[in-house]
Amino acid sequence: MGSDEAKVVAAVDFGTHGTGFAWTVRTPLNDDPLTRRIQFFTRFPGRQPDSPKNLTAILVTDDGDTVAWGHEARARWVEALAKGEAEGLGYAYAFKTALKSGGSMADLPITGGFVDRADRGLIRELVTAYLKEIRELATAEIKRMTYTEREVRWCITVPAIWDDEDKAVLRRLAVDAGFPGDPERLLLAIEPEAAALYCHLRMPDAGSGPHRRARLPLHLDGFRSVVVDCGGGTVDITAYESHGDAGPSIALREIGIATGGWLGSEHVNQAFLDKTLGDRFGPAALKRIERDHPGELLELSEQWERAKATVELDREADAVAAVLDPVRIEVPVTVWDLLDEQVRVRLTHDAAGLPRQIVLPPEEVEGLLDERVDGILDKVAEQLAAIGRTSAASAEPETLVLVGGFARSPWLRERMRARFGERHRILVPPDPALAVLEGAVHFAYRPDVFVSRQAKYTYGFETAKPFEEGVDSTMRMYRDDEGDLLCVGRFGVAVQRMDSVRVNDAHPFRIVPVREDQDELDVRLYRSAKADPRYVDEDGSEEIGRLTVDLSGTVGRPLRERPIMLLFYFGATELRVEVFDPATGETSQVSVDFDRV
């Protein structure tokens, strides 16, 4: 079944903290995004009361069987620890962070039992196990409406800062989890794009709602927006410019460079554990609690997670905003009993006589939030500066779109307003935590909505070019079967960093084998942060993957009769490569193997 015959589109927002699933039916009525009806799954097993997101957590046995996932996994893990029955079990939470290649994982994922967070192979298996669970749940929900699995087109969300190899890994893990192998039936949606799409399609026009909630006008030519996606683990900042010549479609051009970092909400929670609890309980007690009562520690963290999203602020005009109220956190009995008597007396005193409570004064709340909010604001400023440097001046200042779970924080919103609100309009959707999920459903409904993206790197491959005397080292010299003198190891540029590449445009590149008896060509793909790298092994160039092209059909012919066209599609969500053989007139897909690097 082709993807156009899909009767249902379903999206999975696979997040660091929480994961959600939503779907819709393809009908003439739903073809209009304004009237499209989307269903959100909210009854996750073991989750009471129900919620549109489940925890990105999993509990497995050392045989690889899934015991539970989501909130239920957390509850079962805590129970197993309490009963001393954790032997042979492994627990992991926020493990999506381990999929990002390179860079620091900071303090995530959180693991327990036999799961070692540095073991990326195991973490990948856990991702597959988790995706399998949510796919099965989603499939069962859709099948209840008598649709078959073959009638579903799926979409999974990925952060903008993920590289091609990260996306390829996720796709492979998803296929291992039972999602379709056909790329037309399993799409990857870039999270900020999905959020922008949601803000364009579903928010009311300016006239029908408060200014800050007005629609994102992606249909206006030259309109610029910066999506700040503040998730649990990472914050992604991506900028777009709209083109008004796309007819009924939306033409977005990515401008600037997708940036971000480990600035998500979970890191604020970690600061709460390290600082607030560390200062109050003492480092030794905190270590003991971490070791013996991780479940209770998670409970404390969850209370803080909820409280930080609902703090109220003093927003008097021309005054610096301030958190108004203290935050109260209840200390579980088992943790309380572990504390020294002196500590308990002090905490009870600080809570005006209420035992088992921690009261954080407003200034402390602000300090904890600012641990990451300062970094987010700096990254937004960097992105705006990058747009100013790399793009032509715009008549209107960029609109900032704040989405993701952390965007529910009034403190983050207020600090954004204070720093950027004078010049930039700041738009926050009604439920910023679900904007990506709903946007991904809209993207899956009409994947051709985005027409171009901007290359993050210069992409190309290793090739041989005519040797240039005095420029190329003789170490790189090679004479081919026809006697031409070549320089090997040259960087054949297919697309340059910062180039705007259209989603459906092929970037052709002609390559020729160097021997007449050569029956296949191993093409190494490289990227570089430089605009015009010369060699594949120079500083800044790195190999990202390999692909093998079959040349067996033209073995023995003169080299000049054996050219092959590589067609690179850099503008799609994922890097795609096709091979066109003029000798046979055939075009075939080749997959880039990122794991062979």
């Binding site: 009806r37 409406m145 909820r306 609902t310 108004l324 209420l354």
Partner: protein, 268 residues
Amino acid sequence: MLFNRDKGKRPQEVSIRLDGLDTLESRIRKLEAAADDQRAALAALDPLGDRLIELRMRQERAEERARTLETAVADTRRVLDEQSEVLDLVRVTQVAERDDLTREDFLVHYELAQRLRALYTQRMPDLIQPRLTAERPRDVVRRQAQLISRLCVVLFGPDEQGGLGEPDLAELARIATDAGVVGLDARHQRLLERVGTEAAHLFRAMTGSGHAGHFDFAVEPGTPVDSEEHALWPSCEAGRPVAFVVCPGYRAAGRRLLETFVYTEATG
């Protein structure tokens, strides 16, 4: 002219002609024999001709059947397409009519539940703190829970009214200040106003959402605490029966979005 020719040559000519006749006769016999052979061959072919005719007839019948089948397939395909359209319509209607599916317009209730939780566990304890400090009760946890329980009743209506009455802001102030006995500092005075405003906002949002909302005050004292239905009020002891409801649970469209906060008596 023949008669004018030399008469001596005539017998020779006649002889030649007679020889020619003999040759002709011989050729005729050969041709007749060949014709007999052909007839014999044709006679042998007669059954094949019948077979050919039969095959032709069978071909015509098969073509006719194929035409019939093609028509039937086309009809079936048309019926299947129609049925598929009907099935799609039925499925779409089924999806549209399911009231257990969560749609976008319901999502606001999750946010309202979070705001309600913050009101219960953060704002109300803070608001009631000046009165607690003034009263200096022996059991501060119990007294706090009692006062907050009274705040919830005046803000969200008693259970017999469906738990969604208009917030009584005057009564809210009376409880917070012990009928004016306890003075509030500027921060708590503002907090009192904010709590009243937030309760009014929540009331309007819940009643105006199009989904029937309900506050759940009803838990009989002595009921065992059910972790799926109830949440223990902070500092309460687990494993004890419910003494009273501190803050009501919240439901919308029949779904429980916030647990009922209950107070349990401490042992001893």
